[in-house]
């Protein structure tokens, strides 16, 4: 069940400040604090229904700024832009670590290694390929809808690319049915690229990417700063933030960007470079060239 709640007004307003002596103010502050706690607890207990935003999947730190409520079950979140997949992995991580399962429908080019580096527990990731070409505009994608229906039944997160046939604003009955099934079962659908006929609730877009670490024939990709903007019909206004993704020791760390971070020159440690060159074998001068024009 979902209820429209205005997220901007706090449900419990802070008590008005009183004018009294410092001592009594402190005492009344303590008293207010205790009273507020009791009232809050009471409010939880007598609350008649679960608000939509309480049926959520948790989201890890830097994305928490964008989605303060976490991933609300039954919603469609679309990740777009240059870092769409990295954002999707970052969003999914916490929910999966806490025991959720993710289905990956029709994303055959999924970078498994990248997902593992983001900390996504791969033991709870299942890939389903319906065999239709996602970019082929013909065909209504009924297979895809059937598979998605079965996937939202059993998985907490479903990551998918919407087939080309459904990447428009028309909403066929089958897609509407899929939407209500999603709401009912409480899964979260994450689409890579446009949500199309599914009608995205929240849209995360990478506005800008800056890579650090690559030189002119030197270094290696190491760190990336992405500017992400969140918007959508289930979000009041727009939020945006910069997220830093740092590769370190087989992991990718996510963090917020603080001022001055962006232009630190990257000097890859000698050990990393030596390791990357580890497979250089002594090759014969007469070996054929690896690439010629």
């Amino acid at each position: 069940m979902e209820i429209a709640v205005d997220h901007r007004t706090p449900l419990r307003a802070a008590p008005p400040a009183r004018t009294a002596g410092p001592n009594s103010r402190r005492r009344s502050a303590v008293h207010d604090e205790a009273l507020r706690d009791v009232l809050a607890e009471l409010g939880e207990r007598v609350k008649p229904i679960a608000l939509a935003r309480e049926r959520t999947l948790p989201v890890a730190a830097p994305f928490g700024q964008l989605l303060p409520d976490g991933l609300v079950r039954g919603q469609v979140v679309s990740c777009r832009g240059a870092a769409a997949r990295s954002m999707a992995f970052g969003l999914a991580r916490k929910a999966l670590v806490e025991g959720g399962w993710m289905a990956v429908v029709d994303v055959p080019t999924l970078g498994t290694d990248a997902a593992a580096e983001f900390g996504v527990p791969l033991e709870r990731v299942v890939r389903i390929d319906t065999g239709i070409d996602a970019d082929e505009p013909s065909g209504i994608g009924l297979d895809w809808i059937d598979v998605m229906g079965a996937a939202v039944d059993g998985f907490d997160l479903v990551l998918t690319c919407v087939p080309a046939a459904l990447r428009n604003d028309r909403r066929p009955a089958a897609v509407r049915k899929l939407g209500s099934r999603l709401q009912q079962k409480g899964a979260v659908m994450v689409t890579l690229g446009a949500p199309g006929a599914l009608g995205g609730d929240i849209e995360l877009t990478t506005q800008r990417t800056v890579w650090v670490g690559l030189g002119d024939g030197t270094g290696h990709l190491h760190r990336r700063v992405i500017d992400v903007e969140a918007s959508g019909r289930r979000m009041p206004g727009r939020r945006s933030c910069s997220i830093q993704l740092v590769g370190e020791g087989g992991r990718v760390g996510l963090g917020s960007v603080s001022a001055g971070d962006e232009h630190v020159p990257h000097d890859p440690p000698a050990a990393v470079l030596a390791e990357m060159a580890g497979t250089v074998t002594v090759t014969d001068l007469n070996d054929p060239p690896l690439a010629v024009g």
Partner: protein, 570 residues
């Protein structure tokens, strides 16, 4: 009913005879004992022939392990209906000497010992007679199925003891010793005491976790458990522990919370229009089972022994008593009706009680019910609700698409992004113990730096193309950049251009993208000892301009004098 035999004391368990056919599924499948064969359920061996056992196949092994031990092994799919069908002749042979046969599962049945024992002049004589008659049936079954006249080597175990548990253990020991095992009256406790605690799990009385816990607490033999105070056991392990304690002590009476269900519990359906199809009967049975399980469930009870009675319009009857220590759900009841019906329908022509007409009456009688203790879900580890839901969804998705379309990742190892994980069909892997399969360290590798020196450091590309896309890497003069055999480039890359289309139709050139910065080449020369898998290539990371998003990073390789786009960092 045996329980109501005059003079029976509730403190003493009923004397039972158990017949146990080891590895029944392979016998039912008609495998000759001298041919290595095994039956698999959920990719694990559940039964194997003696020949396979000699090769080192054990129950619980995975398909691959079994094939590794014995490459010639014949692997068969599990079919409970077949097992039940083939077991019917044995049930009939046993039913000739005892009125009420309790079927636990195909291959395993028990009867009350008192009457037959008197008739044959003692437990030992009766057990020997039973063993011989069952062996005859098994031999004839092998005769029909495989064309061999030899006496079945598989053996049949017969055990006589006080209580169903002790009798079942005796029967299993009897199958190994190839002679009936008779435990003296009152000797069940002494018989059980030196046995390992794992028997509780083997006989499906207690789940594996509790047995494991007993083991870790130092209770390695049934006698150790029996020696504890029953009050302490109840306090520590709850009703399940008490049940285990009672079995270990050889006091296999029905727990105090089982009661005789009221006669109105039995459910009968008379079909005006006799059903000639198995499915139609099973469909009606499902309605009855749902109703029965629902009614029992409303009282917080569960049925442990169910009598299924079927009758045809011509008056032939089939009645079997089914026992399941863990209690039967509606689905379990329906399964048993189906087994019984299958066995009946497949009776050889001309035999007694052969079915000649449609089924006109179905009756389900709960003979023994007990309070439903419920099943405690695992708190730490074990399967969570989400796991079960997902595993069900995987099964559903597999039927919707195909086995090869539903895949899960397994760590493989390698230097190129596409090699590092393999996607295996979900039906071929153990979904319960997935952590180890995806763990990089499980292969003995110490993280990323383990056995794969030369792989690129994190971050890894999030888009990996199955088939690398051909492209041109050009220098400032528009010439294709070359990489020499020693790993040097002829010029700095200045632009890349994807090649679209196919080689046969001729390449169409994509738009040119300017290179902002690049690094490489990092050469890979792997599997040079194996001509088919030998690869020699150089990797580059290239950052290019992108009008929409600013910049985009790609992983590009040069191999066989051509350039390919392997993956994109997105």
């Amino acid at each position: 009913m045996s329980r109501n035999v005059p003079g029976e004391n509730r403190d003493h368990p009923i004397r039972m005879v158990t017949v146990w056919c080891p590895d029944w599924p392979v016998v039912a499948a008609g495998c000759r004992p001298d041919v290595p064969a095994a039956v698999l359920r959920a990719n694990r061996v559940v039964a194997r022939t003696p020949a396979a056992a000699d090769e080192g196949i054990v129950t619980g092994q995975r398909r691959r392990q079994a094939q590794q031990r014995c490459p010639l092994i014949r692997l068969l799919d599990d079919d409970p209906a077949r097992d039940a069908r083939e077991f019917e002749p044995i049930v009939r042979a046993v039913a000739e000497i005892a009125p009420r046969v309790d079927l636990v599962e195909p291959g395993w049945l028990s009867i009350a010992a008192r009457g037959p024992s008197r008739y044959f002049g003692g437990d030992a004589a009766m057990a020997e007679h039973l063993r011989r008659s069952v062996l005859d049936v098994v031999a004839s079954l092998a005769d029909v199925e495989a064309g061999v006249g030899a006496e079945a080597e598989a053996g049949v175990g017969v055990g006589v003891a006080d209580g169903r548990f002790a009798a079942s253990v005796a029967a299993r020991l009897g199958a190994r010793r190839r002679e009936p095992v008779v435990v003296a009256p009152g000797g069940s406790e002494a018989f059980c005491a030196p046995l390992p605690i794992g028997w509780l799990q083997t006989l499906a009385e207690v789940d594996a976790e509790l047995v494991d816990l007993f083991g870790r607490l130092g209770l390695r033999r049934l006698g150790d458990l029996a020696g504890l105070d029953s009050v302490d056991v109840l306090g520590r392990f709850g009703p399940v522990g008490t049940h285990a304690h009672r079995l270990a002590a050889g006091v296999d009476i029905r727990p105090a919370n089982t009661t005789d269900p009221a006669p109105e519990r039995r459910i009968t359906r008379v079909l005006d229009d006799p059903a000639a199809q198995t499915d139609a009967v099973v469909f009606v049975a499902k309605q009855l089972a749902d109703e029965l399980a629902g009614r029992l469930g409303a009282d917080g009870r569960v049925c442990t022994r169910l009598v299924v009675r079927l009758a045809t319009e011509h008056g032939e009857r089939s009645e079997r008593s089914w026992y399941r220590p863990a209690g039967m759900s509606a689905a379990a009841m329906v399964e048993r009706v189906r087994w019984q019906l299958d066995a009946w329908v497949n009776l050889p022509r001309g035999s007694e009680h052969e079915i000649t007409g449609g089924v006109a009456l179905i009756r389900l009688v709960p003979e023994e019910v007990r309070a439903d203790d419920g099943v405690q879900l695992g708190f730490w580890g074990g399967q969570s609700d989400a796991d079960r839901r997902a595993i069900r969804a995987i099964a559903r998705l597999t039927t919707l698409t195909s086995e090869a379309a539903v895949t899960v990742p397994v760590w493989n190892g390698g230097r190129l992004p596409a090699d590092r994980y393999r996607w295996m069909p979900a039906t071929l892997v153990d979904l319960d113990q997935r952590e180890r399969a995806v763990e990089r360290t499980a292969t003995g590798a110490d993280g990323r730096a383990g056995p794969w020196p030369g792989c690129l450091p994190a971050p890894s590309p999030a888009t990996v193309f199955d088939d690398p896309l051909p492209l041109d890497v050009l220098d400032v003069h528009g010439q294709v950049v070359r990489v020499s055999g020693r790993g040097t480039v002829t010029a700095d890359p200045a632009g890349i251009r994807l090649l679209l289309g196919s080689e046969a139709e001729g390449w169409r050139r994509g738009p040119m993208r300017a290179v902002r910065s690049w690094a490489g080449p990092w050469p890979v020369d792997q599997h040079w000892w194996e001509p088919d898998r030998h690869r020699r290539l150089a990797r580059f990371q290239i950052l290019v301009d992108d009008e929409k998003v600013g910049e985009r990073a790609h992983l590009v390789i040069a191999e066989h004098q051509r350039w390919f786009l392997l993956a994109t960092y997105d």
